[in-house]
């Protein structure tokens, strides 16, 4: 607190105390008024900032409130009319007027007082204070004190309205004048001070809006025009921006709607420095809020016409309006059109027509990121604001013309928003027309990568931005849907023709297409449509598989790094589904496809191993292939085992081979008779088993082969580790009853491992393997209590 303020505050507090003391005694009103006048004199200061002055004002207000209620309570001991005259002898105008208002308002509060005259007198006399800050506070005081006293009966309402308006006009003048006070170097300080004071001016409009019984027509015919006239006349930017905003905020929604034309035409008469954008958008947001608050609100289309005409006339009436602002306003108008009359697509089309024309003004000029952002927002207006996503699909060419006129990057971000909106709403796209329309929205995402990235030598497909785009595009494909699986298939087929336009990008979308198609096949299976006896159905389903195969092959033609792995995976999935529906030949074909890709294109040895495991896993699950096409199955598993033995690294070879052993040992768990559900946390009971393939010999051969590979491994630790794994694998078969995996065989293995350990010098790594081995032995020991066969295994 400044010293100055501190002094004033202490004087005021002291004088208020003295005043109260006098008021509490008999016949000392005059002395009380003198103290009052003394503390009011503090308000004459020039030395404080508006904020400090406000602090002081608050204190003074409280002091005067005390006086005010005293006078009200002691009426009629104090003849208020006389007192009203008496206080006017005060030599200084500030104390005089504060006292006048204090007494005058008490006078107004008593029945049958000449309210109208008092109001008129007070407001007239306030003209004597021309100092902006002091005048604003004085008039604010007038406004605060009269707040609940203004008469609103039919006869007086008009006077009360005019009273407030007059006060508003005068306050605004003072407020505007403040800007021109002092040295021009303090301009920004003035601006800051004015903003601090703005609420005092705005409070008049708030008060006006709080008056009951104001008629909409009267508002339209008199109140608003008077206020607007003042706002226009003051020519002040801050005042115009602020006050128009206040009008927009404080008066009822219905009033705003009915005075749209008046308001908008006023905006064309403002100081050029005023941001039309701010004002118009505030109004639009208010009206949008109105619609959202009252959803069944009915307005005529004419109402939107006012807005559209307004933007169409902006060109000629406000030729200097920055393009940024123009487009911001256009976006707002677009938004309100959509929210009020979403079905009236013509409005939106008109807006985009105008946008396209207007954006041509910028042609040939350097890129302007801010402006482009407004274009983006405008393009997003329909995307984000239609309550029904479906409406987005109703826009016509004007929208797309404007969209395609934009830079690719901007188009992409619009595309992304479209996709987001669709995804957020889980909007199902059910007709080819809709599919085509949406691909118009997102066409940029399918185009060649960003040229600048290419120039920089970056692979556009690898950039994070592109990855995100393509991921979203792929997610979007899940929205294509029809409850009719074949219609669904057609939608997917159609989307593929769009996606295929940019072959570089298909690697991120085709896998999704394949997954969706596989799911369609699963559905056909589940509704029991796939009947192998029904040639039509089989043909139809084969068609889908054919299409899947084509899709995978097209993808395979792409020479990108991860494409072969994806294609192997997709072929395996297709094979799995084909097996499930009983089309075993097709399953076989897909396996063959994946083998071809494995041979041709999977080059990394780590990946080769992993792919092989997957192949083993998938083959192992192909029950129908095994039962009805054993020959083909045998071809496939033999090939697989061979691949395993050809892997580069010995440990990989070894593991692939012992895992491949399962291909000759396929036991179907028959759950059907397992009524007693396994409780969580309990050990599962052995289920009835149906052996689909049980070739003890080949299993053993595999184990033996893997043992040989392990043995030939030069790294003794690695070799030992593999032995332990083979021992474990052998135990699996021992438990499952492979007759060739005997106790003797297992004992042999254990001995082998033990010998190897003995032959080695101990090392840390060996310790880990030793523990693995010990755990295995421990397991065997424990199994002995469940399965007595285990008791015959010799534990070293």
């Amino acid at each position: 607190m400044s010293e100055q303020l501190e002094n004033s505050v202490s004087v005021i507090k002291q004088q208020i105390a003295l005043m109260k003391k006098c008021l509490d005694q008999k016949n000392r009103l005059m002395d009380a008024l003198k103290h009052c006048s003394t503390f009011l004199s503090e308000l004459r200061t020039n030395a404080l900032t508006p904020k400090q002055y406000y602090e002081m004002y608050i204190l003074v207000f409280d002091g005067l409130s005390y006086l005010s209620s005293f006078l009200r309570d002691t009426h009629p001991n104090n003849h208020l009319a006389d007192l009203y005259e008496l206080v006017q002898y005060a030599g200084n105008i500030i104390p005089r007027l504060y006292l006048m208002i204090t007494v005058g308002t008490v006078y107004m509060s008593i029945p049958n007082s000449p309210k109208k005259e008092i109001m008129k007198d007070m407001i007239e006399m306030c003209r004597g204070v021309q100092h902006p800050v002091r005048g604003l506070f004085l008039r604010y005081y007038l406004s605060q004190r009269t707040k609940d006293l203004l008469p609103v009966d039919d006869e007086s309402l008009d006077d009360s309205i005019k009273f407030i308006i007059t006060n508003f006009i005068e306050m605004n003048k003072l407020w505007v004048r403040l800007q021109h006070q002092g040295h021009s170097s303090e301009r920004s300080k003035r601006t800051k001070e004015r903003k601090e004071l703005q609420i005092l001016v705005g409070s008049n409009l708030v008060r006006l809006s709080q008056l009951e019984k104001i008629d909409k027509n009267y508002y339209k015919e008199f109140i608003l025009p008077t206020i607007l006239e003042q706002i226009v006349q003051c020519k002040d930017m801050i005042a115009q921006e602020y006050l128009l905003d206040v009008i927009t905020q404080v008066f009822p929604d219905e009033f705003q709607v009915s005075t749209l034309e008046e308001f908008l035409s006023t905006t064309l008469a403002l100081n050029d420095a005023v941001s039309l954008k701010k004002i118009v958008l505030a109004l639009i947001n208010r009206l949008i809020g109105f619609k959202q608050r009252e959803s069944d609100l009915a307005t005529t289309s004419n109402f939107l016409d006012v807005f559209i005409k307004y933007v169409e006339n902006l060109d000629s009436l406000k030729p200097d309006l920055p393009l940024d602002d123009f487009f911001a306003i256009l976006e707002g108008v677009c938004k309100i059109c959509i929210i009020y009359h979403p079905e009236d697509y013509q409005n939106v089309n008109r807006i985009f027509q105008h946008a396209l024309a207007k954006s041509k003004e910028h042609q040939g000029k350097p890129s302007d990121l801010i402006l482009e952002n407004y274009w983006k927002l405008l393009l997003l207006a329909p995307v984000l604001n239609y309550s029904s996503v479906k409406s987005i699909l109703e826009l016509d060419d004007t929208y797309f013309d404007f969209l395609t006129a934009q830079k690719p990057q901007l188009q992409s971000s619009v595309s992304m928003e479209v996709l987001d909106r669709l995804l957020d709403n889980n909007f199902k796209i059910e007709t080819p027309g809709q599919v085509n329309k949406i691909f118009r929205y997102i066409s940029t995402l399918l185009e060649e990568g960003n040229p600048t990235m290419k120039q920089l030598g970056l692979d556009p497909a690898q950039s994070i931005e592109v990855q995100k785009q393509q991921e979203k595009l792929a997610k979007f494909l899940h929205l294509l849907y029809s409850s009719d699986p074949f219609a669904h298939f057609e939608l997917i087929r159609l989307s593929k023709t769009h996606l295929s336009k940019n072959s570089i990008r298909i690697q991120s979308t085709y896998p999704t297409l394949v997954s969706i198609l596989l799911k369609i096949i699963r559905k056909l299976k589940l509704i029991n449509y796939i009947d192998l006896e029904n040639p039509t159905a089989v043909l139809q389903v084969k068609n889908v598989f054919r299409f899947i195969s084509t899709t995978i092959n097209e993808l395979y033609q792409q020479s990108a790094e991860n494409v072969p792995q994806s294609c192997v995976n997709l072929n395996l999935l297709a094979a799995q589904l084909a097996n499930e529906v009983g089309l075993v030949d097709i399953a076989y074909e897909f396996f063959i496809e994946s083998f071809i890709i494995y041979e041709e294109s999977i080059v990394d040895s780590r990946l080769q191993y992993q792919v092989l495991l997957l192949i083993i896993s998938k083959l192992h699950s192909c029950n129908n292939l095994i039962t009805s096409s054993m020959e083909n199955y045998d071809t496939l598993i033999t090939k697989t085992a061979l691949y395993g033995s050809k892997l580069l690294k010995k440990p990989d070879q070894c593991r692939a081979v012992y895992n491949a052993s399962h291909l000759w040992w396929v036991i179907q768990q028959n759950e059907e008779e397992d009524d007693d559900e396994t409780e969580e946390g309990e050990e599962p009971k052995p289920a009835p088993q149906i052996p689909l393939k049980k070739d003890n010999k080949r299993v053993l051969e595999c184990l033996q082969k893997s043992l040989r590979i392990a043995d030939s491994t030069l790294d003794t630790s690695a070799s030992l580790e593999l032995f332990v794994e083979i021992l474990n694998r052998s135990l699996y078969y021992f438990i499952h009853g492979n007759e060739l995996v005997t106790i003797k065989y297992i004992n042999g293995l254990i001995e082998l491992i033990q010998n190897n350990f003995n032959a080695m010098t101990s090392g840390n790594e060996n310790e880990t393997i030793r523990q693995e081995f010990n755990r295995t032995l421990q397991y065997i020991k424990e199994q002995g209590s469940i399965d007595e066969r285990f008791q015959h295994i010799v534990l070293v």
Binding site: P485, R522, E672
Partner: protein, 277 residues
């Protein structure tokens, strides 16, 4: 120590996203110290971002659809007195086989083995070890055939739908399969009056979807041009979205299984205590 086990996202190939309620549950609070991801995630940039937001300590094992070869196939972590192993599941042969998993756990010296790949959430103990499959966080479609339970569920849905369609023309209305609906008898009364109307025009009280083709189990061919529809089974095609939280204290692991069923999140709790010798 709170650990999230989650995996098999398959975004965007098979799923658009996790259920929103999961995302909300897993919004970053700092409570989860480590995320163990079971793979099939790395193709989705947005999902990786999401996982990293849960905890900066994100551990991923490679799934068959992950392209990043630098990811390990398995990993182990020790928390207090428990050792946890994670593995995607595609390398477990036979797929999901408990005995193979047990072998894997034994070799890894894991007390708890978390594996994925099957898209089916489960937890059980076997030979004193705790086996957890957090399922698929997105409930991604699984190319493994549905199990019997799933098939039965779908069969009963189809039967119900069929009953709804065939009921009006049934001379002896079946009541055991229809809901005790007040409108039932009334509809029947109406039908009797208008029994000459073609069947396809009949209003269906329970199901507003176009009628399904008659299942061809009994060998009869469905005549007519009724469109196929999969609307009834649509909700049952994908797996149940799920993930797990492990709260490990000393030698005790409290497991919370989160599943998303019919729009709601369900939580089951299982406690595992390592037997100490």
């Amino acid at each position: 120590m709170l650990i999230l086990a989650i995996g098999d996202f398959h975004i965007p190939e098979r799923a658009v996203d996790l259920p929103a309620k999961f995302k909300k549950l897993l919004s970053p609070t700092g409570k989860i110290q480590q995320v163990l991801c079971l793979g099939n995630v790395s193709q989705s940039y947005s999902t990786l971002e999401f996982l990293r937001s849960i905890s900066s300590d994100l551990q991923i094992v490679k799934g068959e659809f992950d392209h990043d070869l630098s990811l390990p196939l398995s990993a182990t972590f020790t928390y207090d007195k428990l050792k946890v192993g994670i593995v995607n599941g595609f390398s477990i042969i036979p797929h999901g086989d408990p005995l193979s998993l047990l072998t894997q756990a034994r070799l890894m010296d894991a007390d708890i083995l978390i594996s994925g790949g099957t898209h089916r959430v489960e937890a059980y103990t076997l030979d004193g070890k705790f086996f957890i499959n957090p399922g698929s966080a997105t409930g991604a479609f699984s190319t493994s055939p549905p199990d019997n339970e799933e098939l039965e569920a779908i069969a009963s849905i189809l039967a119900e739908a069929k009953a709804a369609i065939t009921e009006p023309k049934d001379e002896k209305p079946k009541t055991e399969n229809t809901k005790p609906d007040d409108e039932g008898p009334k509809e029947n009364a109406d039908v009797k009056e208008e029994s000459k109307e073609p069947e396809s025009e009949e209003p269906t009280p329970v199901n507003e979807q176009p009628p399904l083709p008659e299942p061809t189990i009994d060998g009869e061919k469905e005549e007519g041009e009724k469109p196929l529809s999969t609307a009834d089974i649509e909700d049952y095609l994908d797996q149940i979205p799920s993930f797990c939280l492990l709260d490990i204290q000393g030698s005790v692991c409290t497991l919370y299984l989160y599943t998303y069923i019919d729009g709601d999140v369900k939580v089951d709790k299982v406690t595992y205590r390592k037997e100490e010798y």
